[in-house]
Each structure stands twice: as C-alpha cells, then as structure tokens.
C-alpha cells in the first residue's frame, strides 16, 4: 500500500544486473594489478637489483683483467692498506707511476719501465704526477654511512676478495658484483665455513681446488694446526735428551671428565682450545686416539682423517676456523656504532 511516489522510486532505482559482472571483473583486475605492483615493488627494491651492476665510467680506463688477471699483480700491491686498516685505500698516482710514470717522473733517478708513455688514456695520470693533484676515481662499492665495514678483519682471517667483489680480476671495468646488503652479510656471518680459505690464498681469486687438491691442502693445514696448538711432547724415554724423539700431541678431555670453567689463574686456557679443536675436527676424539692415551698425535690424526674421501671447502673452512678461532661476531655493534 506504499504510495505511488515510493513505488516509482523503487522501480527506476534498481541497479542494472550487469553491474554484478563489472564488480567481479573489477575485483579480478584489482587483484591482478595488486599482484603486479607487489612483484615490481619486490624486484625494484631487491638489493641484488639495486646494488649489483653499478659500473661508473672511470677517468682512466684501468683494467683489472689486464693487471690482476693477465699480469697477475697481487691485489695488495696497489691496495696495500687492506691488511692494516678498515679501508682498502685506492693507490696513489705514484703507484701507477712506478710503471707508467716514465723514467724519472716519480722519483728523481728512478729507473722504471716507461709503459705506454705516450698513451692518450694515461694522460690524466701523467698530468696528476706533474701537478701533484690526485686522480678523481669514482666509487664503485659504497655502504651507507652508518655501516663500519673493516677490510683488515676479513682479509687477514681467510676471507678472499672474491667473496665480496666477485671475479674482479676478470673485469675490464669494475662493477659491483655482489649486493652487499645486511641480509647478504649476515648469511655469511652465520655460516662462514665456505668463505674461509687458507690465509695465503686470499688474493688468489681463481683458487678453486678440486677434491684431491682439497685433501692435500686439508692435510697441510692440519699439520699447521698441530704446530700452532699441540705442544711438543717427548715420546720415548731415551736417556740422551738430544736423541730423544718427540712429537706434537693434541690434548683433549675424555668425555666424563668435564672441562673446568675458566680457571681463575689462566683464563685463556690453551687446553680448552685444544679440546674444542679435537671435538670439532674428529667428532669423537677417542676414535682417532688409537693408543687411547688421551692425546692424538699427528700420525693418528692423519690416519683417522685419511679414511674420509671427499673433502669439501666446508671441512677446510671448519678446520681453519677451529685453528685460528674464527667465529664472526653477529652483534649489531660489529657494524653499527
């Protein structure tokens, strides 16, 4: 019994039925666009996409591939402060001048090879040497101001340049190879074994030993570890000390007898360090200790470890970390202060 006015309003104001389809369509493409925006957003802000690939055009086209790759110049020849300071300093013009500076341009009377003395590309270098104004190289790898990365802490502890800079000895023009984001750094700090290599191979970017080489290197490092940790112990009771034979024996606490906490007198107890080393490398040291005298000699160790066939970079890394006490710190103040 509603009045006419009402019914007329009711009739002409019913949404056309096709609106339902539009709504469904709208939702569908809204979802689609949302998904698209999410993926673009995710990729656009992915550190690998943002950081990797920065390749600025340097004032002098210096080629690492030529110098470090072909000529096999060691990284530390130019970046000589890498083992002594946080920053691996860009070499002063004088270093380039040693070869490219011409006879006496660097130091009066210096008889140095004058390589490419006339080359146009090296004009800025010669001009720099003359006028004592530095060459304005352009920065490639750059961390935010609140991050305090220290080269010496890594390079002197078995982390090679290739881990963060990639195969820079193959780059004509240096570009950033790795993303160097916080997550990326933390992944390595959390399982650093693959990244640790023998200290003398740090600047050998191409170092990639196969199985056998790994094994021999492992055994060499094991011997070095014994020299560092295991004290010299005399073996047979020969009266004449000079002929008495001695060898290095690694001590470990047999399970059952637990390690004392920090003894008040010597707080950095080498016995504890040896025990850590033994348990880490041999798992259960008793297995390796054939003559069960609670000590492992080098021979016993080599014999035990020979049985293992495939040695991976992880094993070598673990051995090196146990020897040199390398446990990367994960507290925030390691990098942020």
């Amino acid at each position: 019994m509603a009045t006419d006015a009402n019914t007329s309003q009711l009739n002409d104001f019913v949404f056309p039925s096709w609106i339902n389809k539009i709504i469904i369509l709208g939702l569908a493409c809204g979802g689609l666009f949302g998904g698209y925006a999410a993926t673009v957003g995710f990729f656009a802000t992915h550190p690998k996409v943002i950081n990797v690939g920065h390749m600025p055009e340097q004032p002098i086209p210096f080629s690492h591939a030529l110098h470090a790759g072909k000529l096999k110049l060691d990284c530390r020849y130019c970046h000589n402060t890498v083992e002594k300071a946080a920053h691996a300093a860009i070499p002063p013009s004088a270093t380039c001048g040693n070869c490219h500076g011409g006879k006496d341009r660097v130091k009066p009377g210096a008889t140095l090879a004058a390589v490419h003395l006339k080359s146009e590309k090296l004009a800025p270098l010669r001009e720099s040497l003359e006028t004592d104004t530095p060459v304005n190289w352009l920065r490639v790898h750059e961390l935010p101001g609140f991050v305090y990365f220290n080269h010496s802490a890594h390079v002197t502890r078995g982390v090679s340049c290739v881990e963060c800079h990639g195969r820079i000895d193959k780059m004509e023009v240096v570009y950033q190879a790795k993303e160097l984001s916080m997550k990326w750094c933390l992944d390595c700090h959390r399982n650093p074994d693959e990244a640790i290599r023998p200290f003398d191979q740090v600047t050998n970017l191409g170092w990639n030993p196969d199985k056998e080489e790994l094994k021999t290197i492992y055994m060499e490092e094991l011997e070095k570890a014994f020299e560092k940790l295991a004290p010299q112990v005399s073996v047979d009771a020969n009266p004449v000390p000079s002929e008495r034979k001695s060898e290095r024996r690694l001590f470990f606490y047999p399970d059952g007898e637990d390690r004392p906490e920090f003894t008040a007198s010597k707080w950095r107890d080498t016995k504890t360090h040896q025990d850590n080393f033994a348990k880490l490398i041999f798992g259960d040291p008793k297995l390796a200790d054939e003559n069960s005298d609670n000590e492992i000699s080098l021979q016993e160790a080599v014999a035990f470890l020979d049985t293992k066939s495939d040695y991976t970079r992880k094993d070598l890394g673990q051995l090196l970390r146990a020897t040199h006490k390398i446990n990367p710190n994960q507290s925030c103040s390691t990098c942020h202060r």
Binding site: N6, Q9, L10, F13, F15, F42, T45, H46, P47, K48, S181, M182, K183, L186, D187
Partner: protein, 474 residues
C-alpha cells in the same frame, strides 16, 4: 503490558511489566520517519552547521600542528628527559578508552539481550570508530622518525634480516588497535546496511540514490538477506566482545610491562578496561543528550536509555575508585620504597592538583548518580559526564607524566610543562572527532531503525485494545 504513566516516562519501575523502549506510540513508519527526517527532512538545524564549522576548523588546526611536528621534530611538544611520553600518549590512551563503550554496547549488550541498546548502539559504534581514528593518529605522529613507521610491521624484506621485536608492548599496540579499528568498522557498517537501504529508498536526488545504493550492497530485505544479516551480526558480536577487554588491556601493558614505579602494577589491565568503559559511556551520554534534542529523537532515545547508561557509568566509576585505592594499598603493602614514594608523590608531589582533579571527577562526582533526579535530568547528566571525561584525561595524565617525572634517581627528576602545540593538538583531536560525528549524524542513519522496530512496544502483542486506540492519536 505498559501501564499508562510508563507511556510518557518509562523510567518508572513497574516490576510486573517491561518498560516500553519507544515512546510517542510510534509504529514502524513513525520510527523510520523520525530517523529519516534527519537526513531527508528540511535539512539539519542551524546549530549543526555551527558545530560542523567549528570542528572542521579545529581539525584543520590539528593537521597543521601535525605537519609542523613532522617537519620540525618531537621537540615541539613539552617532552623532556625523564618525561619522554607527554600529552600525545595521554591523548592516545584517552581516545582509545572512549572507543570501547561503543563496541560494548553493540556487542556485549547484544549477546546479553539488553534490548535497550538498540536505539543507541549505532551512534555509540560510530563514536568508537571516530575515537579510534583520533587515537590511531597520536602514536603514529609521536615517534621521532615518522617516515620509518612501516618498520613496526613484520614485512619480509630482502635488505635486512630483521623482524620487529615481538616482546615489545608497543608492537602489540599496533596489532591491537588496528584489529580493533577494522572489526568495529566492519561491525558498524554491516549493521547499518538495512538502514542504508531504507535511506536509499527514500533518496531524493541522483547523488543520494547512487551513494546509498552502492553502500546498501543491493539489500532487498528478503528473508534470505535477513537470515544472513542476523547470522553475521551474531558472529561479529561474538568476535568483537573479547576486543572490548583485550585492546585496552594491551594499551595498559604499555605501562604495566615497564618497571617505572607507579606503572609497574598488575592492577592495570582491569583498571584500564573499567576506565575505558567508564569514559566511553560518559562520552556516549555527552553525545546522545544534545543529539536527541537537536534531531528530535527523544522518542527513540528515551530517558530510560540514558538512565541505564548512567547506572553503568556509576558502576564503572566505583571500580575505577577501587583501583585507585588498591594501587595505594599495594604500594604500601609491598614495602618497595620507590613505589611508596611514587604514590606519595602522586598525591602530594608537584602534580598534586592533577591527582585531586582526577579523584574528585572520577570517584566523587559520579556518586551524584545515586539520585534519580541526576540520572534522568539530561543537563545534569551531561555535566557529570563532562566531568568524568575530564577526570579520565587527567587519570592518564597522572599515570603517564607524574610517574615519569620522579622515579628512581632524584637527580633525573624533572617537571613537564605542555607547549602550545600540545594544547592545540588535544583540542584539535576533539575537532576531528566532532567533525566526523556531525557528518555521521547528518548523512547516515543515527539510530538502528531495523533493530528498534524489533523492540517496539506493540510488538509484544498488547491485547488491551484501548492501548491500541490511544496509540492512534498520540
């Protein structure tokens, strides 16, 4: 069966009968006309424009202050060391507290079958949403670096292997207040769909018809729609009920979890929830009394509704008073010298005036509701409710600022003084609240017509024919 005198004044208790919840003998059409006239009548009374104008002005001032704050820094307020949290946090807790009454009315009273809630639940829920909007603004802008606000959300990023710290009560706040906002918004809008459909059918011009049409989601009032609506309403009420208690508990954890003497007490969760309901109802009464006058809703929002709310206000007021007493008792009984001084300092230290305002407004003035005259006379009750809201603001002020100003080491004691920006943002937040509320009153159905029709007096099949006839000429 409603006796004669109950028809005009339903606050008279007649044990045998259930007091009528709608006066003026309105029938279905009467209820709908009363509410729809507000939107489609000859336009709102002139005062509505005045109130809207003033509140939008204040809202502009608020956002001006927020802009200045973000460009300059948190130093524009009066915060110092040790009082790191100042008025913004007091405002945040105050507004979140006010919000809880709305959900209580619409969810808990619904589950308890309190029919008198029907005519006030819509406005109360609207107040909840607007209060949560004001509340949400403050923690957002009070942090030092607003542009890194999104670090509070657990977004997986490829940059940092970092999650927020899930042990921090501030993080629980973020989840609690956002959940509260979404659930009460959903609950409010879903409940309003039938009424918006009524508005759609009474729309006069194209814009109103399109707007209300879209908002009513194609509601036809068919039995299927009603069945789904009722079921959804019950589920949402069940969902919203725990929110009333949990959200302000988590807000109280911001203080209880810390070890500042004066904050570190286990009474805080129930104390804050009682305080929230207490200030929430006071705000509902403060809004309803002028609104029913202005928009002629006196038949729907009768003095019985107001009286019931006043009773709840008094009850929660006493709970809050008990909580003050227990705080002092525990401080003395616990024997911790820092706590003992914290409470002596609260009552007699340099902020003694704030404490005594709080106690008198929250505990003493509501005792007037023991008298029926105060419970039913609109202007007395509004006065009392204003005092309650002032008291509750000062309660948060006393808890936050007095306890912070003097804690363990006397060398770091300091006195907090607000700056003009503090004051302007507090007033501005009321501006924002009243702007939203006045717009709601004008454009959306203020009373839940569909629910009120469910509780109309003659709905109880009043056999007495005379009752029916009288109805004609009322």
């Amino acid at each position: 069966m409603a006796t004669v005198d109950q028809k005009n004044d339903n606050t008279i208790e007649d044990p045998g009968t259930r007091a009528p919840l709608v006066l003026g003998g309105l029938d279905y059409k009467g209820v709908t006309d009363t509410v729809s006239n507000v939107a489609f009548g000859e336009g709102p009374p002139r005062i509505w424009y005045v109130v809207l104008g003033i509140s939008t002005l204040l809202m502009g001032m608020l956002f001006g202050c927020v802009g200045h704050l973000i460009m300059t820094g948190v130093g524009v307020w009066g915060n110092n060391n040790p009082v790191f949290w100042g008025w913004p946090i007091v405002n945040f807790v105050f507004w979140v507290g006010i919000g809880h009454a709305g959900t209580l009315i619409s969810a808990i009273l619904f589950l308890l079958r309190q029919n008198w809630r029907t005519s006030i639940n819509r406005a109360a829920e609207a107040m909840t949403i607007f209060a949560v909007v004001c509340a949400g603004l403050f923690p957002g802008v009070h942090i030092g670096r607003v542009w890194s606000f999104y670090w509070l959300f657990p977004i997986p990023t490829e940059h940092l292997a970092m999650w927020p710290n899930f042990r921090s009560p501030l993080l629980w706040d973020v989840f609690a207040v956002s959940t509260y906002a979404t659930v009460s918004l959903l609950f409010w809008y879903m409940g309003m769909v039938p009424d918006i459909a009524t508005f759609r059918d009474r729309a006069k011009n194209k814009i109103q018809r399109l707007a209300y049409g879209v908002l009513s989601l194609g509601w036809t009032g068919s039995a299927r729609h009603w069945h789904r609506y009722e079921m959804a309403y019950v589920i949402l009420a069940a969902l919203a009920t725990p929110l009333v208690l949990s959200v302000h508990t988590i807000v109280s954890f911001d203080f209880a979890v810390s070890q500042v003497p004066g904050w570190h007490t286990t009474i805080f969760p129930p104390y804050f929830v009682a305080g929230a309901i207490f200030s929430g109802f006071a705000m509902v009464v403060t809004l309803m009394v002028p609104a029913r006058e202005l928009f002629g809703l006196k038949n729907l929002i009768t003095s019985r509704h107001l009286e019931n709310m006043n009773k709840i206000i008094m009850a929660t007021g006493l709970m809050v008073g008990l909580a003050y007493g227990i705080e002092f008792f525990i401080a003395w009984y616990g024997g911790n010298p820092y706590e003992q001084f914290a409470f002596v300092n609260r009552a007699f230290g340099s902020y003694w005036w704030a404490y005594w305002i709080m106690v008198s407004c929250n505990v003493l003035i509501p005792q007037l509701f023991w008298f029926k005259f105060c419970r039913t006379n609109p202007w007395v009750m509004v006065g009392i409710c204003l005092f309650v809201n002032v008291g509750m603001w000062f309660e948060r002020f006393v808890i936050t600022i007095t306890s912070l100003s003097r804690d363990f080491l006397p060398s770091s004691w300091a006195y907090f003084t607000p700056t003009p920006i503090d004051i302007m943002m507090l007033i501005g937040s009321f501006g924002l609240f009243f702007t939203l509320f006045t717009l709601f009153c004008r454009f959306l159905p203020m009373v839940a017509m569909s629910e009120v029709k469910g509780v109309l007096p003659h709905e109880e099949h009043d056999e007495d024919s005379s009752g029916h006839s009288e109805h004609e000429e009322a």
